[in-house]
Symmetry: C2
Subunit: 195 residues, 2 copies
């Protein structure tokens, strides 16, 4: 009975690329080489399938960050690892990234709350602790948000930035992104760091 898992895996890919309305149960059934009736045997309706697919996609990434917050690292090193890990995950697992972006657009408040609790909250709390150690800012929540926003949107905008002046291929490499983001976070736009 890993039909069900196979369906979920496939659904994640399809939903992340074409959205809820853009994927029909027929499309999905064809992709997993089954009849629609067989798919409906595993999920009560399309909405339920979508929610399970979402949880499935997010659960896979839950423990990608485990190595980041180890107690015996400096705050600076923790931040470096987090930024690097986030860039890595978002670049590698394109389905996850697109699913997340789509949820940010389409989710109602209830699903947004779920996303916050199940996917973000733990990492966000760790990140806030690290920022408190590194900075005197009173805007810890906002600073943490900035870190995540920077990494997410840089990767999200890659397909666009390719067509803007000054683009270079290395701008899309994970290590380059992580290094530049960290430099910006530590030194601001002046970038007097390692250059």
């Amino acid at each position: 009975m890993d039909s069900k898992e196979y369906i979920l895996q496939t659904a994640v890919t399809l939903f992340s690329r074409q959205g809820f309305e853009g994927v029909s149960m027929r499309d999905l059934a064809k992709s997993v080489d089954m009849s629609t009736a067989a798919v409906y045997h595993h999920f009560s309706n399309k909405q339920a399938l979508y929610l399970e697919a979402m949880n499935f996609a997010f659960a896979k990434q839950a423990r990608a960050f485990d190595a980041v917050w180890q107690a015996d690292l400096s705050a600076h090193e923790k931040l470096r690892r987090f930024v690097s890990c986030l860039a890595q995950v978002l670049t590698t697992d394109v389905d996850f990234r697109r699913f997340m972006q789509r949820e940010l657009l389409d989710a109602d408040d209830e699903r947004m709350q779920l996303l916050a609790k199940e996917v973000f909250q733990e990492q966000f709390s760790h990140l806030m602790t690290v920022i408190e150690q590194l900075s005197e800012t009173q805007q810890v929540h906002f600073s943490a948000l900035c870190v995540i926003a920077l990494v997410c949107d840089i990767i999200q905008m890659q397909a666009l930035s390719r067509h803007l002046p000054g683009w270079q291929a290395e701008h899309e490499q994970v290590d380059f992104i992580a290094e530049q983001v960290l430099d910006l976070l530590m030194n601001g736009i002046k970038g007097d760091g390692n250059k």
Copy 2:
């Protein structure tokens, strides 16, 4: 014959909220109080209507940035105005923001090129010039991308960040966002600026 414009205006709102697949020609026709046949009189098919709606939404914002790059301002002041203006536009015109996010997700390379040329390129070039004046970084393109990414994604993540620890209502005010982003850009995460 401003039926056509009225249809476009309505289409922008619907498409930005529910996406291409989520809006039927019937929905749209009902929203503008016409028959679907009347809508089809103005647009050859749904795809063409979508593309015209996209151009319509983006054209409205083209000259929102006119006051930003005035020659007699300091580079720092230009940057401040750009960040503030961008935050203002994205907060005020929710349809525009969502449409842009959706295009970043759904557009193929051709539409991405259009988006780059018609919407971003001019502002992006100005922004790169300003960054060159403010900074010694060799990564001007990347830094410019960071500025835009920061503002866009902070606003995009507001609905989520509401459910994360440490959130405060003032985090969603345009002036607060602009001020904090500028501080981060100039001083990094330490935020030793005006605090």
